[in-house]
Symmetry: C2
Subunit: 251 residues, 2 copies
């Protein structure tokens, strides 16, 4: 496994990996850049806002095709909870979830590309290059399950008469070629699209609380992490062939 | 109906409506602000990056409860298409969709709060106040259906042997109290959470290509727009009571 508990980067790891250009993001050399609005990205604090918002400058194209691993995670039963729960507690749960997930993704050099309420999408292998990006994504998924389980249990939810068991995280992981770039003329932050992204999202939607569903393609690239996992076959909306996935974590 | 084809605002309409502070966003007075990184927001070009990223400064709290109308839209059958279609054409479709949707939302003073691949979430009544925010959201939904239908038809997709009828947009609209604010310690852009948001998302997931599903609560507040619509009842995942919705547009 690569890159857990790495020390904070002094230059942007995305700009370095993509262009071999050193952009200071920490320390005194970062100050003049900050004055021009170049700061650490919200997607990952080891990359900068150039990678985040200037994809066309970084890659000299509007989008590229790249191998990447995609992770989707969300809180299971959130709709049910949101109908019954005090909005303040709900927002505490969402914050705890988003912060823990981000830390886990960053610890393995991924980026939090999208946050949507009680869910998120992470990309591994862009802009920071990761040799074993499937391993990195699965390691992040395991960290998410561990840290969210403890965080959610530590919240005092009994006051609302809700079963704690109802709360948990579902995760889907898939790897493949995706299109990365800007897909809107008015937004400048990049994202990834393509069938591999959609499959990861669909797997996540099938994952029960505490489960990580890893596609067969991803599992084949991370055999060390797959010992003793259970295999399941899904028929997913919009996908003709049955999809085989491994269930990695049952919290 | 309010605010179609309004001229571009010279001061940020969000900062004005929320704080009565005039922040120039166009014209010569905007220049010094731009030097400090205060520019037009990507969520809506009539608001500024202060509204977008400094919620706590604008509202003096981490989040607020507010009445708002939420619109979700996405491309129906996108997973199916993404399995068969050239990634370049796929990205053209996504760009055309996102740009048309944004224009429709902005024309009615809403904001594009989230974009996720082939989908988006829009908020009406924050930060720009809209007296009839349900009307505004439904008018935007109608515009989205009209402009996306023509845009998608104009793309030359026959080359891939795909039926054009497969392409269309599904939309869900609901109104209610939502929590608006920052729900992550590392992201600074605000969003909305709560059961009303989830219900809008669930309605969208039920909408077929060309349909706008409007919740009964939203429909009751926009009777003028609801003439001749069809009523349907749904059982939605995570929601105990059956949900009644009106089908507004069948393209």
């Amino acid at each position: 496994m690569e890159s857990t508990a790495r020390s904070p980067a002094r230059i942007c790891r995305g700009c370095w990996d993509q262009m071999h250009v050193p952009i200071p993001i920490r320390g005194p050399l970062a100050l003049p850049f900050r004055a021009f609005g170049i700061t650490r990205s919200k997607m990952n604090p080891n990359i900068c806002t150039i990678c985040e918002r200037s994809f066309r400058y970084v890659k000299k194209q509007q989008h590229i095709s790249a191998a990447a691993t995609i992770l989707f995670a969300d809180i299971r039963g959130f709709t049910h909870l949101s109908e019954r729960m005090d909005p303040l507690i709900l927002s505490e749960i969402v914050s705890a979830f988003q912060d823990r997930c981000a830390q886990a993704v960053w610890d393995h050099d991924g980026i939090v590309n999208k946050q949507m309420g009680d869910g998120l999408m992470a990309i591994f292998n862009f802009p920071i290059k990761i040799r074993h990006h499937v391993d990195a994504a699965i390691a992040a998924a395991l960290d998410i399950q561990r840290s969210c389980t403890s965080a959610l249990r530590s919240l005092d939810l009994h006051a609302d008469g809700l079963a704690l068991d109802a709360l948990g995280v579902g995760i889907g992981v898939h790897t493949g070629q995706v299109e990365i770039g800007e897909f809107s003329t008015f937004r400048s932050d990049f994202t990834a699209i393509g069938s591999a992204v959609n499959l990861a999202a669909r797997l996540e939607s099938q994952a029960a609380a505490g489960e990580i569903l890893v596609s067969a393609e991803a599992a084949a690239q991370a055999p060390n992490l797959m010992a003793g996992t259970q295999t399941r076959t899904y028929r997913l909306k919009g996908i003709e062939q049955p999809v085989v996935a491994q269930v990695l974590f049952k919290g």
